[in-house]
């Protein structure tokens, strides 16, 4: 499978990355190279092999349902670009 330049633009848009024409061409070559490797991997017969969802063979650790965090708003908001009335301010987004 080969990615078209439209695919590249779509992927960039989904990732919120701005790329120009030149970068699109470069990106298309690189990603298609990676896709080549993936195609090679996909040619391996995996019948009867359970898909892996995690690199380590471990189970999820669970914690008790007890409040362990205190209010750190002041410290956390000290590094935010803009705050008001306890809220983080961001450029207006209405869907």
């Amino acid at each position: 499978m080969q990615l078209s330049s439209d695919d590249i633009r779509r992927i960039a848009r989904l990732a919120r990355i701005a790329i120009d024409e030149q970068e699109t061409v470069a990106m298309q070559q690189q990603l298609n190279g990676i896709f080549g490797v993936i195609e090679q991997l996909q040619s391996v017969n995996t019948d009867g092999v359970e898909p892996m969802s995690h690199a380590q063979d471990v189970a999820l650790r669970l914690r008790e349902d007890k409040v362990t965090e205190s209010n750190q708003r002041e410290a956390l908001q000290a590094v935010a670009p803009a705050v008001e009335a306890g809220l983080y301010l961001v450029p207006k987004v209405i869907e």
Binding site: L62, D65, V67, T68, E69, L87
Partner: protein, 475 residues
């Protein structure tokens, strides 16, 4: 042409845990903005999620309650999209392997039972809240809700009317509060409904194109939105137009749905397994322990109320609409009240008064015990039903005992020999009415009953007066 509406629901239930699904921050409602949003919740670099055991237990509880398969291994995935109230740029959810699969719920619509199948239920985290009022042209973000545990419950497209969809949503609401996994508070967003609606010519096998109505937070809006949407789709099709797959919002002000986004600009979520979280493994022992802790479920209790107390299906269903109401009924009966009388009183006077005062059964000033003592006075003939209603009204407002009030209000029925004397007096004094009745005017009989009740100052049993009058008039 006859049309059929097809509905499937996706319901987000907020799990009633103390802390977030992946952090130890509190989930208490109504806190000052961002005071319950810790480093994990706001996605500072380097933080890692740690799963809340109680959220897993509640998911298992739900799976067992609907007879579903609880997956021994389930996987968390990242659902990627950008929005300012989603700090990580992805929501941790479950995609290919959810914790609960299958199951079913029986709903009752009119006199019919219907089984609605469930597709799945999966664990995920909630997003924060965006406030769009003007902060110098910016939006304000409160991340207190970010990371609150949700169980998203997805049904099959098994419902065929707005009434069925509402019945299903109510049954599910009753169940999740019953088994204690969600507080059910719809105003606070603990139970949010998305409805997938499509229409097709009756008899057609394939489904029509669906539109999804997002975020309905009351049963009333759910019903209105589905009715409007189904009508709108039928009109489009009858005008020869096509339905375009879309996500829509319901506006309670206008009672209409409007498009939020169409399929072309739908999100591409690019789900993939979250490398921060190994698979969730649930063992047999844990499932069996939770099964042992499950309370008697509404359906089982309903059946028991019918078989043990001999209640009609309608009564049994109404009384098991919430656990608190069912408990109140059982306590009333345990305190010595006749079960059918208890049922009548709870569904009648008690429910009506609670309704009027917008109170829950747990806030009833008349305890189950006091209601039982009132009913016992009806059972032993101390007062009749009409007088009991008068006592009940005062009982609601006062701390006095039932017996005290019966005496104070003077509602004991007058002695039967006295009633007979009164009836004789009334007949003697109203010879004209008696003559009218004997000439065939039925109305005169009711007038005579009224005269007798008046003479007894309302303290006689109308049924007794009826019988006495009938006997004397036909003698």
């Amino acid at each position: 042409m006859q049309w059929e509406v097809v509905i499937g629901l996706e319901i987000h239930t907020q799990l009633s845990t103390q802390t977030k699904i992946f952090s130890g921050a509190s989930t208490a409602f109504g806190a000052e903005p961002n005071t319950q949003a810790c480093a994990v919740d706001i996605a500072l670099p380097g933080v890692l999620p740690v799963m809340n055991k109680a959220a897993v237990e509640k998911a298992i509880r739900f799976g067992l309650a609907i007879g579903a398969k609880v997956n021994r291994k389930s996987v968390f995935a990242r659902k990627n999209y950008f929005y300012p109230d989603l700090p990580k740029g992805y929501q941790i959810s479950q995609f290919e392997l959810p914790v609960v699969e299958g199951g079913e719920i029986t709903i009752r619509v009119g006199d019919e039972n219907k089984v609605v199948r469930l597709t799945r239920a999966h664990l995920e985290e909630d997003a924060g809240k965006s406030l769009h009022e003007d902060f110098h042209g910016m939006s304000g973000i409160d991340l207190n809700r970010a990371g609150t545990p949700l169980l998203e419950i997805v049904s099959e497209p098994d419902m065929r009317s707005a009434a069925e969809a509402v019945a299903y949503a109510k049954a599910l609401h009753s169940l999740v509060t019953w088994i204690g996994i969600c507080d059910g508070n719809m105003q606070e967003g603990s139970f949010r409904v998305d409805a997938n609606v499509s229409v097709r010519p009756k008899g057609q096998a394939e489904f029509g194109t669906r539109r999804e109505i997002k975020n309905l937070n009351s049963f009333k809006f759910l019903e209105q939105a589905i009715k409007y949407e189904a009508n709108w789709q039928v009109e489009q099709l009858e005008d020869g137009k096509k339905i375009v797959q879309a996500t829509v919002l319901f506006d309670p002000e206008t009672g209409q749905t409007r498009v939020m986004r169409t399929k072309e600009d739908a999100h591409d979520y690019r789900y993939f397994p979250d490398p921060d979280l190994p698979p969730l493994v649930i063992d047999e022992a844990q499932i069996e322990q939770i099964r042992g802790e499950l309370p008697e479920l509404p359906a089982a209790m309903q059946a028991r109320f019918q078989s043990v107390f001999g209640l009609p299906a309608y009564d049994a269903q109404t009384l098991t609409s919430s656990k608190a109401l069912a408990n109140y009924f059982e306590e009333t009966v345990a305190a010595g009240a006749d079960s059918k009388l208890a049922s009548n009183w709870i569904m009648g006077e008690v429910a009506a008064t609670l309704n009027r005062e917008e109170k829950e059964i747990t806030q009833s000033p008349v305890s189950s015990e006091r209601l039982a003592s009132l009913i016992k006075r009806i059972m032993d003939g101390t007062i009749h039903n009409k007088a009991a209603k008068d006592v009940f009204k005062v009982l609601w407002e006062s701390d006095k005992s039932v017996d005290q009030l019966i005496d104070e209000l003077g509602v004991r029925p007058v002695d039967s020999s006295v009633v007979e004397g009164l009836v004789d007096q009334v007949l003697a004094a109203n010879a004209a009415m008696v003559a009218e009745f004997k000439s065939g005017k039925e109305k005169a009989f009711n007038a005579l009953v009224g005269q007798c009740m008046k003479a007894a100052k309302g303290k006689a049993d109308p049924a007794v007066i009826n019988d006495l009058l009938k006997r004397k008039l036909t003698e």
